[in-house]
């Protein structure tokens, strides 16, 4: 079957999709967006968290056909242009990234949390992130990262409540960090 949807603001079409494929599979293997991770394939780990029509879901639990005509936003769509989002930068700065496999899901979940609750208390952070497993960090630095991102957004954002619908993404005052270095030159696949 053919699946058409909007991914990170642009129209996307995947052909020859087998009906049993998940949205996660289509994103990763057919649309060239492997940022969302597959670690459990049953909605337990949160590594594949994406926005579907503005609501966070586990992409592994969404059948590809259910995404037809809908709006999908993945970790690849969190950064604005070349600049990292506040949540992304905070994860780096706070040391919340180790192996990084859980990171894309946590970035999306945290982004969602801070849109809903700009200054969450620790119990709210814990509750919001309880569906995202991390095996490396013990979560301490992840808590630090969420607090840091919230503080930075609060110091940069206009007061919340300025209107619903796609709350303005702050222009991150914090730079994107060092350039990432050479990519995949000379290797297959790019």
């Amino acid at each position: 079957m053919r699946v058409s949807c909007t991914v990170n603001g642009a129209p996307a079409v995947a052909d020859d999709v087998w009906e049993g494929e998940s949205l996660l599979f289509v994103l990763r293997e057919r649309l060239g967006l492997p940022g969302s991770k597959n670690a459990c394939e049953q909605g337990e780990c949160g590594s594949c968290t994406v926005y579907l029509d503005g609501v966070v879901v586990c992409a592994c639990l969404v059948a590809a056909g259910q995404a037809q005509g809908r709006d999908v936003r993945t970790v690849e769509g969190i950064a604005d242009g070349g600049a990292l989002g506040a949540v992304q930068q905070a994860f780096i700065d706070a040391g919340a990234v180790q192996c990084g496999f859980c990171t894309p899901g946590l970035i999306v979940t945290t982004d969602d949390l801070l849109r809903r609750v700009p200054r969450p208390a620790d119990p709210e952070i814990r509750e919001a992130l309880a569906g995202n497993l991390c095996r490396c960090t013990g979560y301490e630095k992840i808590l630090d990262a969420v607090r840091l991102a919230a503080a930075r957004r609060a110091s940069e954002d206009p007061p919340p409540g300025a209107g619903p619908g796609g709350p303005g993404r702050p222009d991150d005052a914090v730079g994107p960090g060092e350039p990432a270095g050479p990519g995949a030159a000379g290797r297959p696949g790019r």
Binding site: V13, E44, A79, Q88, F101, T103, C134, K141, P182, R190
Partner: protein
């Protein structure tokens, strides 16, 4: 198609350049150079690799823990459209077996399967679902046999044999002093440790690409590229040079990637089909695709004087290695040599046995051997304190090992061993307030917040039946490979001008598995060469072996190699300057990008000396040699370094429902030198979390050799709701034998966290709790 092309193999995994100021050297909290790629989703993990014409591999696994294979029927699979290859035991061209310490594990099972999940056949197809269906369509005729499942019973005469050579993998015997020395008090106990899973999030995966020279290029997540290369080449029947490995992005390891999983299978399929083959395990398959932590049964007897001085420790430990050898011999050695704990014990008798069974194979997991022993000896110390009427911390401090202490192996501990100080740090820290409404609130009154209670918003208690407990533990771990193993690493350092600026390239085969080695390598190069711009190349087999990213060794050994190679580069540079300026090299120094002489001051900028030619040096670096231990007495300098951590756990327990809320964990650890304090904290936090998991929730449940819970729904790892705030006390007591004085840090936190939490639950409930993970039934007394 829209968006960018999918990630190519090896892309964006570790070629990460960081430029920086002087504060980005050793000792600074430098952020990860791969952090940006990881937060944007661009970092290519081994499961993200993609090529346009690739096939998908899948594995058929035995449903039985023990069975004879009568026949394998491929017809059903071969009929499926889209299928490219089916391979069985007969199709393995080279050595039919593999293994880390003994090549006893079949690449694909031949005559007999020895554990549930053992690979029997592999297939390649154009879609992962086609591959799964093809594997399912293979008809295997099994003669099911009764499995061997009890490690202790498997050693008794007449037991059924898992392998013809017998069920004993290894017996390590430690004897020192007089184990029958008279004592005033004796406590004994039998302890059990369940089978823990590493549960890394990034599943076993990789991409094998056939090469024009008849060889294969494999992009894979592993802990040790060269030991993989040797095993793969042997089974493919190829020279090692034709099997080239590149480290793809690794989604955690914790020991589970030391053994091979899909490596040989993907290479076989790629060579058979002439097309790239990708293999990615599902979570369920991952539970069968790697070794686990050895379940253990431990019998301990501690004897002491009436005033609490340890007289003797006697132990018998059975470690269930499952069906194949894997790392069991080293696990057994750790459980034995570290079996008395970080204490001075004049008389020790330890027997540790590694045993073959038809249970899932067990091997490396963070802290191996030491984790199991620590749960037993620390539980014993608490029991001894109770019998003596002593404070458990004071009993530990009274018997604490120090620098200069003699291990039960006769080895003198020749660097800092601040066991007493670690205990003082954790026990001296202020205790958290009680939760209002509970039995030992101690704080303000009022209604408790449900989220602070065991059971949380499940609303299982409002404080009634909730009791607080505090527990302590301290542990010991060896760092690096032991018993005479030639434990080395190789580093290639290149110093050159890039766009007119001095730049350093670090190339090693050391696996970055999340721990931050890629950051530390760059920090070392900056410190040694004073150059800001450092690039760490992707790890591959184009440079010599780095050894394994395990045993808390990689910063020590590969860090040592990077430092040594930088020193060789510096020497070559100063030699070049000496020739050019007619000054003895010994009078020259390199600092702040300038070469200076003792007498004449600054002679040249680094850039001037590099203008014509780069400098490159490759150095193989070894730590101090260790020795095998005597097979009768266990005596010998088996280990290169010891590392210590202590924990205090504070828990609230719902004694009626058996639910535990860990309120706080406090850790003290001596790290020798904090190479990167931010990354160091992450190691201690993460290691502690895995120790909490073993204490309270993590167990692969095996019945009759069959795994009952191979999923994240049924195998529980700690979530952010399970982890409490953690307070760290870091000591930096330099080890004069180690680079920068550093001490391996990855494993100690996992070791002492478990017994501290169990001790706290015991303190709250009065239950004996001699098995981990603790089950609610154990607490409720059901």
């Amino acid at each position: 198609m829209s968006g960018r092309g999918p990630a190519g193999p090896g892309s964006a995994t570790a070629t990460v350049t960081a430029t920086g100021r002087e504060d980005k050297g050793v000792g600074a909290s430098v952020p990860r150079p791969d952090g940006t790629l990881k937060v944007t989703g661009e970092f290519a993990f081994s499961s993200d690799l993609w090529l346009a014409d690739m096939l998908w591999g899948a594995t058929l696994r035995s449903p039985h823990p023990r069975a004879r294979i009568r026949a394998v029927g491929l017809a059903g699979a071969l009929r499926l459209p889209g299928l490219a290859a089916v391979l069985t035991h007969d199709d393995v061209p080279g050595r039919k077996t593999f293994g880390l310490e003994a090549a006893d594990q079949p690449v694909l099972a031949g005559g007999e399967v020895r554990y549930q999940g053992e690979p029997v056949a592999v297939v390649a197809a154009d879609h992962p679902e086609t591959a799964r269906r093809a594997a399912a369509a293979i008809a295997v005729d099994y003669e099911v046999l009764a499995p061997v499942t009890d490690a202790e019973a498997a050693l008794r005469p007449g037991a059924a044999l898992v392998h013809p050579g017998g069920n004993l993998v290894r017996h390590v015997r430690i004897r020192s002093g007089d184990p029958h020395a008279p004592a005033a008090v004796v406590v004994s106990g039998r302890y059990e440790v369940g089978m823990q899973d590493q549960a890394f999030l990034g599943p076993e995966s990789g991409l094998a690409v056939p090469a024009e020279d008849g060889g294969v290029d494999l992009y894979v997540a592993t802990q040790w590229l060269h030991v993989d290369q040797d095993q793969i080449a042997a089974s493919l029947g190829l020279p090692a040079g034709k099997v080239r490995l590149v480290l793809a992005g690794v989604g955690g390891a914790f020991g589970a990637r030391e053994d091979l999983s899909m490596q040989i299978h993907a290479c076989l399929l790629a060579l058979q089909t002439g097309r790239p083959v990708k293999m990615v395990y599902s979570r369920e398959e991952s539970f069968f695709g790697h070794v686990h932590r050895h379940p253990a049964t431990l019998y301990y007897e501690h004897a002491a004087t009436a005033d609490g001085m340890l007289v003797s420790v006697t132990a018998r430990t059975y470690l269930d290695g499952g069906a194949y050898t894997s790392s069991s011999p080293a696990v057994v050695a750790n459980a034995a040599t570290l079996g008395a704990g970080p204490y001075q014990v004049p008389n020790v008798s330890v027997d540790a046995y590694g045993v073959f069974t038809n249970n899932p194979p067990c091997g490396a997991m963070r802290g191996f051997g030491a984790v199991q022993a620590c749960f037993a000896y620390e539980s014993q110390m608490d029991e001894l304190a109770r019998r003596l009427g002593m404070d458990p911390v004071q009993l530990r401090i009274r018997n604490a090992m120090t620098e200069g202490s003699v291990m039960p192996t006769g080895q003198v501990v020749d660097s800092a061993a601040p066991v007493a100080e670690l205990l003082r740090r954790v026990s001296g820290a202020p205790l958290p307030q009680g939760v209002p409404g509970t039995a030992c609130a101690g704080g303000p009154g009022g209604e408790p917040d449900l989220r602070d209670l065991p059971g949380g918003v499940s609303n299982t208690t409002h404080g009634e039946g909730v009791v607080r407990g505090v527990g302590y533990a301290v542990g010991i771990k060896n760092v690096g490979f032991s018993e005479g193993f030639d434990d080395y690493s190789t580093a290639r350092i290149r110093l050159e001008l890039v766009a007119g600026e001095p730049a350093v390239t670090v190339h090693t085969a050391a696996a970055e598995v999340g721990q931050g080695l890629v950051t530390v390598q760059a920090q070392i190069a900056r410190t040694e060469l004073g150059v800001d711009r450092v690039t760490v190349r992707p790890a591959d087999t184009a440079v010599g072996s780095a050894g394994s990213s395990s045993a808390s060794r990689q910063t020590y050994v590969t860090g040592g190699a990077v430092r040594a190679a930088c020193a060789a580069v510096r020497d070559a540079l100063l030699g070049r300057a000496a020739l050019r300026y007619g000054v003895p090299a010994a009078d020259l120094t390199l600092a702040d990008g300038k070469i200076a002489s003792r007498d004449a001051g600054v002679l040249a900028d680094l850039a001037e000396l590099l203008a014509d030619e780069a400098i490159e040096q490759t150095v193989t670096w070894r730590h101090r040699p260790t020795q095998p231990i005597d097979p009768e007495t266990g005596q010998g300098n088996a280990h290169v370094q010891y590392a210590f951590a202590a924990h205090r756990a504070v828990v609230d327990v719902d004694t009626e429902l058996g639910l535990v809320k860990v309120v706080e964990l406090t850790t003290a650890q001596d790290v020798g030198k904090a190479m990167n304090p931010l990354a160091l904290a992450g190691q201690i936090h993460g290691g502690t979390a895995q120790g909490l998991g073993l204490a309270l929730m993590e167990e692969i449940q095996v019945t009759g050799g069959v795994v009952r819970n191979p999923s994240f729904t049924d195998y529980l790892i700690p979530t952010i709701l399970d982890m409490p705030p953690m307070n760290l006390h870091i000591l930096e007591l330099a080890d004069p034998h180690a680079p920068y004085g550093l001490r391996g840090v990855g494993e100690p936190p996992t070791i002492s966290a478990t017994p501290a939490i169990v001790a706290a639950v015991r303190a709250a409930t009065g239950r004996p709790l001699r098995r981990v993970p603790i089950r609610p039934d154990d607490i409720a007394g059901l």
